[in-house]
Symmetry: D2
Subunit: 205 residues, 4 copies
């Protein structure tokens, strides 16, 4: 199976032009790397990434908060374009993010506010490989500091980069070299720190 890369970030319609362009390039890079793009099926940065991936013929899957297409469109005001498949979890904005993160082999954070902060925290806590697209503002500026406050080795690995294409390449390489051995905390029957060992979480930059 192809690698799956989740893109999470600000889902509002008020995107700064620079950030929107970076998110579009991120989606293109994901498709060019022949990976599947996973989004929350929402507007904003993830939707820009969907456009970018679709422009290269990449496969785009949206994990919707709605119970149905009707709720997706009318309750959550979410788009259907540029996605190949929408999965309806019905579990609301943050509930579906948990499925989104678990289904992604790695996630990339682009800008974002409280929802994205939650997504970062979930991904970190579940030991994911996480890319931070720097230069997109919002909570991306706080993550290095937060990781120092958290003081917890969950097995998560963070890679920061301002260049979407280079970020995807670095994530790709790190995944295949190392992270595939312990892609999340759900690795065996007993959840324990020993499951995701490999030295302290180190921030590559």
């Amino acid at each position: 199976m192809k690698l799956k890369i989740g893109v999470m970030g600000h889902a509002g319609s008020d995107l700064p032009e620079k950030g929107a362009k970076l998110a579009f390039e991120l989606g293109k890079a994901i498709a060019e790397q022949d990976a599947v793009l996973i989004t929350g099926g929402c507007p904003g940065y993830p939707f820009e990434a969907a456009k970018g991936a679709a422009s290269q013929g990449g496969l785009v899957i949206g994990i919707s908060p709605g119970l149905s297409l009707w709720e997706h469109v009318n309750k959550y005001h979410s788009p259907t374009e540029h996605h190949d498949v929408l999965i309806f979890t019905g579990s609301g904005l943050m509930g579906r993010e948990v499925v989104n993160i678990r289904s992604s082999d790695m996630v990339v954070i682009v800008g974002g506010k409280s929802g994205t902060l939650g997504e970062f925290a979930i991904a970190y806590d579940e030991g994911k490989l996480i890319g931070i697209l720097m230069g997109t503002g919002g909570i991306t500026t706080e993550i290095k500091h937060l990781v120092r406050v958290i003081q917890k080795d969950t097995g998560a690995k963070l890679i920061y980069d301002r260049d979407p294409r280079r970020l995807i390449r670095r994530l790709w390489q790190y995944y295949h070299r190392e992270h595939y051995k312990h892609p999340s905390c759900f690795l065996n029957d007993r959840l324990s720190p020993k499951n995701h060992r490999g030295g302290p979480e180190s921030i590559t930059e």
Copy 2:
């Protein structure tokens, strides 16, 4: 977006040869109709359908019971071949079926035991378009009788056929002629009988 067709049925490894062949043909027909196949990511009839769809280059999405690929393989003994994308719900065998059914525009029942009975009941209760692949045994022989006992118009529509290709064609036609107007019970803000009206549920045969 392409239509999504969920295939549900016996997930054991002890498939009768005839049923396995019918499920494979069902998957082929789904891909040839240019629809996306949704499965529970499990062995058995749904896996035969995945093989069939993949043999025609169709897109196959598996909604896994596991929290991760590790659980998918080691806890649920489930395959990864012939699927393009696995979504990890972590909600167990029956929990993921709810997501599976909601994400499918229509579902097809192939053979099956208690799990499949639950899937049929969920699809019926949520007002789905449901195909029954006759000749595959298990609970498919009981459905007509059960519908009479249930005496509840949920908006569900059932189409029975012994020929996988014809079944898909009939489902496809009925969906585009009628069922797309009320594809499930989650159609507006208030769940009520009025939402899925259109005369009593009638069984086409």
Copy 3:
């Protein structure tokens, strides 16, 4: 912790008087046995059981389909009376039933249509101890036949009785004598038939 007994059944407002009285007595018997009543937080038979349990000061927990109290009341038209706590899963009518069943040490089926059929099938498939309150019509009349069709030993155990109080007593005794050893299929790290062995599922009557 106290035992938890889930009550599932027809959730409409058109209850036959006899069935409603049986469901009320069932709730009373649950409270008198000092067990916690788990319902789907819905109207109908489960609500009658909630009234019965509450009349004896029993603890009643409702697992709601809604994302919030607002949705519980306005989207799902569900009651709040006679419940001590409502848990908001947001996973819709059938999604919340999966949580409901897993959280119950045993479940009792009272009347019911397609939703209840799904609940029975989920409980059966997950190897639960299941009581059938005979005399309440709906799908309860079909269960013996369905179990024969299903031909699958999941570890589930069925006890049929027309008397609510005797049914609860028999379930209680069987649980403490035998079923507590294998209360569901989620008993160890690997889901396999060996986990719920103990001879073929036998129907006590």
Copy 4:
């Protein structure tokens, strides 16, 4: 129904004595206020709160990450003492937190690392009334700063206090005076900023 107060925080076994005592007092205060304590059914600060609430005869509900009691104990190494009822979501550590937060009328953050950061972010994003028990370290020291970075009015309201009893009293008063009017973002059919208006989120201190 009684108010439900969720307590979230560090779930490790390495609690500083002062923090453990504060969490115990918090649980006592919740029970004395005649509210129901909701926890994630985990060790750590929430478990200390459960002990405190149970010491006063308060009702304690744990929302478990496991699919069953077996998983609760053996996979998630979680306690069963001092809880009246465990609900088995099977949705893993972060998945169950979403249910936990939605089911709580207000939540209190005690110490905590990445998991708690996620819980705070979810509660903030869903517009909850949130208490921060100051003096318990971890991410509680970062929340004021994060709220400034987030710059998003979700309807959430934060109250900070070092005294567990005073914090519960202030939360209680604010809930009954104001927050009950818009307890979360799931207030009507359309999720929109207008749903949780009432002036900018203001931090009471």
